[in-house]
């Protein structure tokens, strides 16, 4: 009986999960071996041709490089800032609640809204960045229109948006550390920095790994700001993998190639998922 009950309870969720996660994932893989069908030419099996095209597609490689640069540019900075923020707001700090709220607020705003606000900072001449630059005599610069600066601009905005979110995880971890360790260190006369380096930071390692994996996954899913700020430009300099998939599928209508690109994204996420699940396992065992 319990088998039947278990499955009955699970059925409604299982149907939706299969319909919108497992089936589309399998269908994506399947589609990547076929050509895109048109009215006059139906889709046919092409084997690995889409993958061969992918290897020869300079935009794909550029987008992948961009994604890597975006991850490397945003993740370490936002994690370091998050840790610093968490340590500050975990300590006795005047107006602590206000400071904590300030750090966290960007997290709850939609990325599209955030991009709207930041668009203005980066606008040449009338934007805040150029205004401040002009005060120091710097020439006007098209921040989002220059392939050399566009990624950094997006990275700064993303760090602003995400650091407060990661702070929350560190704050939770810090609050679960037993206070006795700190007392002992104090009695031994350990300096603040020494205590952080030798005790706090190692104890926070599981949290750091957890945040790291999540941040990496996020860096592949976060594309909302591109719709407002750059549309992937100039010359694909700021495009990311998921945005490219969107373009190929919904602007160029090449669904087979979009599926092939999606398979690459799925493979990347699967790799990260394995690390993530090992993390979860550990946490469950610790309980």
């Amino acid at each position: 009986m319990k088998h039947v009950y278990g499955w009955l309870l699970l059925t409604p969720a299982a149907i939706l999960l299969i319909a919108f996660t497992h089936y589309p994932a399998a269908a994506t893989l399947f589609d990547s071996f076929f050509s895109t069908g048109t009215v006059v030419r139906p889709s046919r099996f092409v084997g690995l041709a889409n993958y061969a095209a992918l290897l020869d597609d300079p935009i794909f490689w550029q987008v992948l490089r961009n994604n890597l640069a975006f991850a490397l540019g945003t993740i370490p900075t936002s994690i370091a800032l998050a840790l610093l923020m968490a340590i500050w707001v975990n300590d006795k700090l005047p107006a602590r609640a206000l400071v904590r709220m300030s750090y966290f607020t960007p997290t709850i705003l939609p990325m599209v809204a955030v991009a709207n606000l930041w668009l203005f900072f980066y606008t040449p001449q009338i934007g805040l960045l150029d205004k401040v630059g002009a005060m120091f005599g710097a020439p006007s610069h098209n921040w989002l229109g220059d392939p050399h600066t566009v990624m950094s601009c997006l990275a700064v905005m993303t760090v602003w948006k995400e650091a407060g979110f990661f702070m929350i995880f560190y704050l939770a971890a810090l609050q679960s550390l037993p206070p006795e360790i700190e007392e002992a260190a104090k009695i031994e006369g350990a300096s603040r920095w020494y205590f952080f380096r030798r005790v706090t930071f190692p104890l926070l390692m599981p949290t750091t790994l957890f945040v790291l994996v999540n941040a990496t996954i996020n860096s592949f899913k976060l594309v909302d700001h591109l719709f407002i700020l750059t549309k992937g430009g100039p010359d694909n300099a700021s495009s990311l993998l998921l945005y490219y998939i969107y373009q190929v599928a919904f602007s160029f209508f090449d669904t087979a190639y979009a599926s092939t690109l999606t398979v690459v994204l799925l493979a990347l996420l699967a790799g990260l998922a394995i690390v993530q699940f090992q993390q979860i396992e550990k946490r469950v065992h610790y309980r």
Binding site: K2, H3, G6, W7, L9, L10, P12, A13, L16, L17, A19, F20, T21, H22, Y23, P24, A25, A27, T28, D31, W88, V89, D91, K92, P94, L98, S102, T105, P106, I108, L109, P110, V112, A113, A115, N116, L117, F120, W160, I168, F169, L171, P179, E183, K186, F210, D224, F227, I228, I245, Y246, F250, T255, A258, T262, L266, L269, L272, Q276, R283
Partner: protein
């Protein structure tokens, strides 16, 4: 709580405050710009008179009331479905060792990584087949069976002592009665945490709603905002700021009122 809580050195306090100021300044600046004529957004004059003109203009340029209504419908619908589906599935995983339990659970967890927005091509196709393109149900349906919700509730249900269930059983409670009278009330904090995380996620979600909607009657705030704020729409920046603030204000106000619960819910949700 903390036995040895000490105050931060003065220099660090200053740095912490400075960073906090830096962090809210984009928002404060948006408020400033939204409350002043467009020319004032670029010429900072602390003594100029604030005006609500931009809000009025933004309200008429874009159908914000309709977008807001769509978002509220979407968020409510998704949350209601998630609560029911995740409760049932979480209960199944927490209390029934049925055949295929572990495989099924593994398959649920896959969704933690592969959210519906990654599979936009196939999911759009499915929605087209179901005739759900450009409907609010179409935006919400892929998210209703939330792996995260199932996982969170399973963890919570597992911590509830079996004795409570046995006692209820002895009293003649049915299986669903046990779920409704014992498990659900005891998991209330988890439900609250999950609700806050879910609402903020779907309030802010953009890519999938953008793809699946194409008319004013279904577009949520984020998509409306993107169209409104596009440079080619020819709206001036003060009005865009006003529109942006209007779009984020319900969630922002809710956050300011319930910030403690909000942060705690994110904390709880994070410790998976």
């Amino acid at each position: 709580m903390r036995v040895l809580a000490r105050r931060l050195p003065l220099l660090e306090t200053g740095a912490a405050w400075l960073l906090a100021l830096l962090w809210v300044s984009p928002l404060l600046y948006a408020f400033w710009a939204a409350l002043h004529p467009a020319a004032m957004a670029t010429h900072f004059d602390p003594f100029s008179m604030p005006t609500l003109d931009n809000f009025r203009k933004a309200w008429t340029y874009a159908p914000f009331p309709r977008h807001l209504l769509n978002t509220v419908i979407l968020v409510t619908m998704v949350l209601a479905a998630q609560l029911v589906l995740c409760t049932l599935a979480g209960f199944a995983f927490a209390r029934f060792q049925f055949a295929g339990h572990d495989i099924a659970f593994g398959l649920v967890l896959v969704q933690l990584m592969v959210m519906p927005e990654v599979l936009i091509v196939e999911n759009y196709r499915t929605m087209a087949k179901l005739g759900l393109v450009d409907t609010i149900l179409g935006i919400g349906l892929p998210y209703m069976a939330s792996a995260f919700g199932i996982f969170l509730l399973r963890q919570t249900f597992k911590t509830i002592p079996r004795e409570l269930e046995d006692a209820a059983r002895v009293e003649g409670c049915s299986m669903l009665g046990v779920l409704w009278r014992v498990y659900v009330p005891l998991a209330r904090p988890t439900y609250l945490a999950y609700a806050l995380v879910s609402v903020s996620y779907h309030w802010n979600n953009f890519l999938w709603p953008l793809i699946i909607t194409n008319s004013v009657n279904t577009r949520p705030l984020t998509v409306g905002l993107a169209i409104f704020g596009a440079p080619e729409s020819g709206v001036d920046w003060a009005v865009i700021s006003a529109g942006t603030l209007m779009a984020v204000s319900p969630l922002l106000v809710a956050f300011l009122l319930f910030q403690r619960q909000f942060m705690q819910s994110f904390m709880q949700a994070g410790i998976k």
